[in-house]
């Protein structure tokens, strides 16, 4: 390089390098002159510049101290203003004045933009105003910051459920169940799972609802209300055995709880355990006389128990009487159904009934016990076909239909 300055070019040095060398050398010499003979690029500044550096450091320290003081005042003021507006918003949210709450939470956020609690409350106020898309945006932001937050996941799940985004809703509901909650973690998780089950039942996804319900049942406290709720849900998905088990667990805690008794009666009824159902329902009705549904169910269960000729430990005479009554009831049902205009197999059933009618007497049944089977088989067929042609019966006809189903299964 030194040679270059003397005009001797090194091998394969390009013209741009040449130019840079020359220009730099010119600049260097010009500045050398200006600086009184010293090269500025290498000029040493020990004295003045050391002092300057020290002064700069000092100034920076003073500056930091000063701005720190201002910063403390500023942040304290911002926090106070944020809290003031948040408190107002929270009060309005509690009183369901969502519009005002939204405005106040937004103002609070002006002073603490990333405050998690402010944003979450704003999202809830927005949900209250049915502005779910705005709330969703806030919640997504919060979710990114704390994906394990239960409240955020739950709200997101609800919005997704509203929007019929099933997969998204399921994901957020599951997050909610395994998320962390500020307080009452177990209760919140149970409630989230219950909400998920309701969502699944709404979507008619009974299989998944059942598995969620079994998981829920495993973690229930000794609270009859909780068992009753679980039992109700089991009933809704058609899992009567689990339902009855839950009601029984509830009754272990509170034997006279009318809701649990009614649920247990209903479950036993669905399981065709009519004697048990009758017992539970009787207790339910006596505990809560205004429970008409249980009373109605009780009367049906009582009829089923009473009109079942195949039940054990009844005398021959009693059985003959029951069969006679059942035969007569079926004949009435057939007639009324025929009169109502139903055709099809009704006429042949009527002929069969007429043919058998003469034999269905107390004496006849006592003489020929096989007639019980024959008569009841005809009764069951009549009730089934009438039910199909003329709609679900009530009273004794319903009892007979249920008895038919009971023995059909057996």
């Amino acid at each position: 390089m030194a040679k270059a300055r003397d005009g001797v070019r090194p091998t394969r040095a390009s013209s741009s390098q040449y130019y840079q060398i020359e220009m730099a050398a010119e600049r260097s010499s010009a500045e050398t002159v200006a600086a009184g003979g010293k090269e500025p690029g290498r000029r040493l500044y020990f004295g003045r510049e050391t002092a300057t550096l020290a002064l700069l450091v000092l100034l920076a320290i003073v500056g930091f101290a000063g701005v720190s003081g201002l910063s403390r005042i500023y942040h304290a003021q911002q926090e106070a203003l944020g809290n003031r507006w948040f408190t107002r918003g929270a009060a309005d949210l509690k009183e369901q004045h969502f519009d005002r709450a939204v405005s106040e939470f937004r103002t609070a956020l002006l002073y603490s933009r990333d405050n998690y609690s402010y944003q979450l409350n704003l999202a809830e106020a927005l949900i209250g105003l049915k502005r779910s898309s705005e709330a969703y945006a806030y919640l997504l932001n919060l979710w990114e910051r704390e994906p394990e937050n239960g409240r955020v996941n739950l709200e997101l799940a609800r919005i997704a459920a509203q929007r019929k985004l099933t997969e998204e809703a399921l994901r957020y509901y599951h997050n909610t169940i395994y998320a962390t909650w500020a307080s009452d973690q177990e209760v919140e998780r149970k409630n989230a799972r219950l909400e998920l089950i309701e969502f699944l039942l709404g979507n008619n996804d009974k299989t998944q609802a059942q598995s969620e319900l079994i998981a829920l049942a495993a973690n229930l406290d000794d609270d009859p209300g909780e068992h009753a709720r679980a039992g109700d849900l089991f009933l809704r998905i058609g899992d009567d055995e689990h339902a009855l088990a839950e009601y029984r667990l509830g009754l272990n805690e509170e034997r006279r709880d009318p809701a649990v008794l009614a649920g247990a009666g209903r479950a036993a009824f669905e399981l065709r355990q009519y004697t048990l159902a009758e017992r539970y329902l009787q207790e339910a009705v006596s505990a809560n006389a205004s429970d008409t549904q249980s009373a109605q169910l009780l009367s049906t269960a009582t009829l089923v128990v009473k009109m079942d000729p195949f039940r054990r430990q009844i005398s021959v005479a009693e059985r003959s009487r029951i069969v006679g009554e059942a035969f007569a009831t079926a004949g009435q049902r057939l007639k009324s159904c025929f009169d109502a205009g139903a055709a099809g197999g009704q006429s042949s059933l009527g002929q069969e009934w007429e043919k058998l009618k003469g034999q269905i007497t107390e004496a006849g049944l006592r003489r020929n016990p096989d007639l019980v089977e024959v008569a009841m088989e005809l009764v069951f067929r009549i009730e089934r076909q009438s039910s199909a042609a003329c709609g679900l019966p009530t009273g004794t006809d319903l009892a007979l239909l249920l008895i038919a189903k009971l023995h059909e299964r057996n």
């Binding site: 300055r5 394969r12 741009s16 290498r42 000029r43 040493l44 300057t52 500056g63 500023y74 103002t107």
Partner: protein, 579 residues
């Protein structure tokens, strides 16, 4: 190692050993250290500036999100009166955005910006923005940083070269702290203020920007200006939607800059006494817009950009806000109220982007882009179209969003907006403002677009034979006699070029050197060579010292592509100037 280092090393290799302290106190190294301090002081100043704006807002407009009608009307207009008095009588240089003043410091005043300007900018801008004028804090922060840096440089008696550079270094620090985006700040200052990249400048600018951002985050936290919602682009066909945004943004940019270009000189031409009232009238009109239902247009508006990104406005409302913000910013800026245009540009871009996205969603419901994605792209679009900083516009969006999946729509939309804006309004807004102020600062955009003459444009084919280094003087005399030119090129072995005149060859032959090879005689006096793609400016450095300069291939330095002489270069320049 830069050219200067190279030169210094070449000039005095014996002095290259020095202690660590010596190297620290070399001016170039010392300048880097000073850059860090510039960043620190700028960061502190910008933090105070932010506090001042917020305090002005709280005390002038109240603590609520929607101030009362009285405050909405009185605060900006009364603040306007105070600002006018301050700008006219105390801080005349505080007027405007600050970008051009920093450029003027670099190109005209040798880096000089009075400290009083920083004080004036701080007070008047904080008052204006805090009172609700539609302006932003970024450009004032840029000027405050530049002014602080200039003051520091003067106290330290830096050399003129360093003094010129110190204002942009401070500008980058100020902008980085205001924007909380160091990459964008560095790019903007290099793209729009300095206009060139060198290692020395880049080092200082980066150090100052980073240190100012660190200081700012120390006091104000590291959150970006807006909370960025998840952004995505699932289908490439959606680029059409973003292209539409680019076109709309380009047209809006033209409308915005044309408004400023037309109204600013008109306002300045009004009688002098009106200048006392112009900011107040602008403030009153902005207050009126707020009272009539659009308080969002007041101030910098970052809160509302955030809300637009989170889908909290209908697309119709977003479009209205974009239009009203253009009007409000025009009013504030052309009235001479000090304050920046970055924030309003981002506001308009975000609103416009989200509005276009929302409208497109109505027409094409299958589009997956969220309002936030469109708002982000929209900000970049306006940045590219209005401020005409295409590189910064792309990096700004990426830096602010922290999401690179958005890069393709940003590139497409920004390019379209930039081209449309450039096509419809050839002069960039900063250049328009400079010329309105009676200055003639170099236009970075014009520089970027300027045609460059290259060596290949001036070189001509080689007509005369090239003498080979292995040949003897005696053997080449015949070739030399037949040559039309007086100077002949010599191809040296193994590499290099030299030249010789016919007369010199004959003289050497007469001196009895006929049997000597050309290599042995000319190896010690090589001449430089050029490549066809080099700029003609480079050739100009050589052609006055060497009558004939060879132009050789980059792949093979011995392969001659042509030659160039001083007259070739000058005539090419003449033709270019006439053309």
């Amino acid at each position: 190692m830069n050219s200067q280092d190279l030169a210094v090393e070449a000039a005095a290799p014996e002095r290259s050993r020095g202690s660590w302290l010596r190297s620290v106190f070399r001016e170039e190294t010392f300048f880097l250290i000073v850059s860090v301090f510039i960043g620190i002081f700028s960061g502190l100043a910008v933090v105070c500036f932010r506090f001042a704006i917020d305090w002005c807002h709280i005390y002038l407009l109240g603590t609520g999100a929607t101030p009362s009608t009285t405050r909405l009307l009185l605060a900006p207009s009364l603040a306007g009166l105070v600002i006018a008095v301050l700008v006219i009588h105390v801080f005349p240089l505080a007027r405007g955005s600050g970008v051009n003043q920093t450029k003027a410091a670099l190109y005209i005043y040798n880096g000089y910006i009075p400290l009083k300007t920083a004080v004036g900018k701080f007070i008047t801008s904080a008052l204006a923005i805090g009172a609700g004028h539609s302006l932003g804090p970024e450009d004032p922060s840029l000027q405050i940083g530049a002014s602080l840096a200039s003051a520091l440089g003067r106290r330290m008696r830096l050399s003129r070269d360093r003094m010129r550079l110190i204002a942009p270094v401070g500008a980058a620090a100020g902008l980085a702290a205001a924007f909380n985006a160091p990459i964008s700040a560095v790019l903007f200052v290099i793209e729009e203020v300095i206009g060139r990249w060198t290692a020395g400048i880049l080092g200082s600018v980066v150090l100052s920007a980073v240190s100012s951002v660190v200081v700012m985050r120390w006091f104000l936290g590291s959150e970006s200006l807006f909370r960025i919602p998840p952004v995505q682009m699932e289908r490439p066909s959606e680029l059409i939607a973003y292209s539409i945004l680019g076109v709309v943004g380009g047209l809006a940019s033209v409308a915005f800059s044309s408004g400023i270009a037309t109204l600013r000189p008109w306002c300045r031409a009004l009688p002098r006494w009106t200048q006392y009232f112009q900011p107040a009238v602008a403030g009153l009109l902005i207050g009126l817009i707020a009272v009539l239902g659009a308080p969002q247009v007041m101030g910098a508006g970052y809160v509302y950009i955030d809300r637009a990104m989170h889908g909290q406005f209908t697309w119709q409302m977003l479009a209205i806000l974009a239009g009203l913000k253009i009007v409000a910013t025009l009013l504030s800026f052309v009235s001479g109220t000090p304050g920046g245009m970055f924030a309003p540009t981002l506001f308009i871009g975000a609103m416009l982007g989200a509005a276009v996205g929302g409208a497109e969603h109505v027409v094409m419901p299958h589009l997956t882009g969220s309002p936030g994605t469109y708002a982000l792209v929209g900000m970049g679009v306006l940045f590219a179209g209005f401020l005409r900083a295409p590189m910064t516009s792309v990096f700004m969006v990426l830096e602010v969003s922290g999401n690179y999946s958005i890069i393709v729509p940003v590139l497409v939309a920004n390019t379209l907006a930039y081209l449309i804006s450039r096509g419809l309004q050839p002069t960039a807004i900063f250049d328009v403002l400079t010329r309105q102020d009676g200055l003639d600062l170099p236009s970075m955009e014009e520089q970027r677009e300027e045609g460059i003459l290259r060596v290949e444009d001036a070189m001509r084919a080689v007509g005369d034979p090239v003498l080979e280094g292995e040949e003897t003087i005696g053997s080449v005399l015949g070739q030399a006699d037949k040559a039309s030119s007086d100077i002949l090129l010599v191809r040296l072995s193994p590499t290099g070029w030299s030249s010789v005149s016919k007369e010199e060859l004959q003289r050497m032959a007469g001196e009895g050197k006929s049997e000597l090879s050309l290599n042995s005689l000319f190896m010690t006096r090589p001449i430089p060579y050029l490549h066809p793609d080099q700029s003609l400016d480079t050739a100009l450095r050589f052609v006055n010292r060497w009558p004939l300069v060879p132009v050789v291939s980059r792949a093979d330095f011995r392969k001659l592509e042509g030659v160039v002489t001083q007259s070739d270069v000058l005539s090419r320049y003449r033709e270019f100037g006439e053309g």
